[in-house]
């Protein structure tokens, strides 16, 4: 539990962009390599004969015509793979982060917003904390708490630390009767107090 809770807390710091980064990076490498290959061929580094052949080389066209069925099946398979990959990538990038509800018992579910409202109120009562934003992240089986605290200028951070675990996190844990609730806390230092028009 402790290992997974530490990992869950680290993952709750922010939404993961790993899939998007890896796919974008791979596409970048692919596009870059094909561009470089085109330059190498076009500048005649693979021989002047190759450089002066047309893009749609009759040699390649003849090859495709000789293996027409295999080429068509290959092209269709590539099309399906590209379509699924592209839609999945698109959907992943556009999807919102899940906000799981907490299941305490079989017939008792605490909604994510009820939970985060309670935590926000507790956190706002800590001295020096100006504004709080709490969200539940992760999946249903392993929910985690993400708490953003805007600390006012001149706040003693160590004091906030001491109260944070005593008053906010431990209360959340006991009210949920959970041994551990992985939490990622983001601190905004020296935040300007919110201006309210009265």
């Amino acid at each position: 539990m402790s290992k997974s809770s530490a990992a869950a807390a680290a993952a709750a710091v922010g939404r993961s962009a790993t899939t998007e980064r890896v796919l974008t990076g791979l596409l970048g490498v692919l596009v870059m390599v094909s561009g470089a290959a085109g330059l190498v061929v076009g500048h005649g580094l693979l021989g002047a004969f190759r450089a002066n052949r047309p893009l749609l080389d009759p040699i390649a066209v003849n090859f495709v015509h000789a293996h027409l069925l295999a080429s068509r099946i290959g092209a269709l398979a590539a099309g399906v793979v590209l379509l699924i990959l592209g839609l999945g990538w698109f959907g992943k990038a556009l999807s919102t982060e899940p906000r799981p509800d907490l299941r305490l018992a079989d017939d008792l579910v605490v909604s994510a917003s009820a939970m985060t409202d309670a935590v926000s109120r507790d956190a706002e009562s800590v001295a020096g904390v100006g504004r709080v934003k709490a969200t539940l992240v992760g999946d249903k089986a392993n929910p985690a708490l993400r708490l953003t605290l805007w600390l006012q200028e001149g706040t003693d951070i160590r004091q906030v630390w001491a109260q944070l675990d005593d008053r906010v996190l431990s209360r959340a844990r006991t009210s949920l009767e959970a041994e551990s609730l992985p939490a990622a806390i983001r601190i905004e230092l020296a935040a300007r107090a919110r201006q309210r028009v009265s």
């Binding site: 402790s2 970048g28 470089a36 005649g44 269709l76 590209l82 990538w89 630390w161 996190l169 990622a184």
Partner: protein
Amino acid sequence: MRFLVRLLSVLCGLAVAAAGSALLIGVTWTWLLPGDSSLRPILDRLRSVVAERAWSSTPVLLTAALALAVGLLLLVVAVSAGRKDITLHSPAPGVTVTTSPRSLARLVGHRVRAADGVSTAVVTASTKAVRIKAGTRLTSASSLQPALHELATGTVGDLPMDRTPRVSVTVNSARDNR
């Protein structure tokens, strides 16, 4: 950069899906309806472009150079979109605490600007270093620099950080320049 990589992901995902469906439509169409001529103009145009241009022609070389640049850009965005959060001490097991470099810079900036003699201050912060460029009108740089360095080091040291960043201060004094 994290927003940019998400935006690019949306665009690239659409482009890849569009390429896949174009391939699917083109191949099934020509396979199932060999005599049908409704796609013929598009295919003919495509063929006339790729069948006549040589690899060494200028448009092909330009396109290849553009692809090289775009690919490099995608790679740079993907690599640089990592998290830049500063990790603070954890108050309890299973809890991580982070702050943003911008927020650390804001804190240090507030303190430095409040110091005697400082008229302007620009602060940049990362996990490794905090750099301060201060400007003063009344004091000489040599007298202000050690005081600011001490102030900034103290401010940064007060934060319960896993790794204390290096602090560097440069002072530009209008009095010295006179």
